[in-house]
Assembly symmetry: C2
Homo-oligomer: 95 residues x 2
Amino acid sequence: MNDYQFKLVKIAGDFVSHRHAHTDEVFIVLEGKMNIEFENEIVEINTGEMIVVPKGEKHKPFAKEECKIMLVEPTGVVNTGDAGGELTAPDNQWI
Amino acid sequence: MNDYQFKLVKIAGDFVSHRHAHTDEVFIVLEGKMNIEFENEIVEINTGEMIVVPKGEKHKPFAKEECKIMLVEPTGVVNTGDAGGELTAPDNQWI
């Protein structure tokens, strides 16, 4: 919508800790349970819950078991933020 | 997030037909079933489904029975768009 994307993602295991310098990022858990490790706390997000990660804030998403989520963020945001590396995914994989 | 709001809304019955000149609008159905009447078709949106109403497109949301939805749109968008009237709701009612 407008210049935002709603991305459906399946996650499992640990993601890399990273930050997005220019945008907030919304996680909505559709099925399962995930966590986000911030610098001072670990937050659990359950099915039907959402969280807004403020821009610039270092965060590491992880899930013990497979979890289906929807991300909401501006077009072109790189999944690994400032961290880069092998977990960086291509943009715009339409399903 | 950023300059967008995620609004939780319960709807029932007919809403006024209206358009938003400057923004798309996302409807996500959390519980129940709703419809949106466009100029040439009526779309049904069920639990767990979402729809993007393109900016400028005339649309009339309605629900036969109470339906819980989440709207995603820029801060300050008026619910009745260009139509106004008695269904116009105040902005920023935090829950």
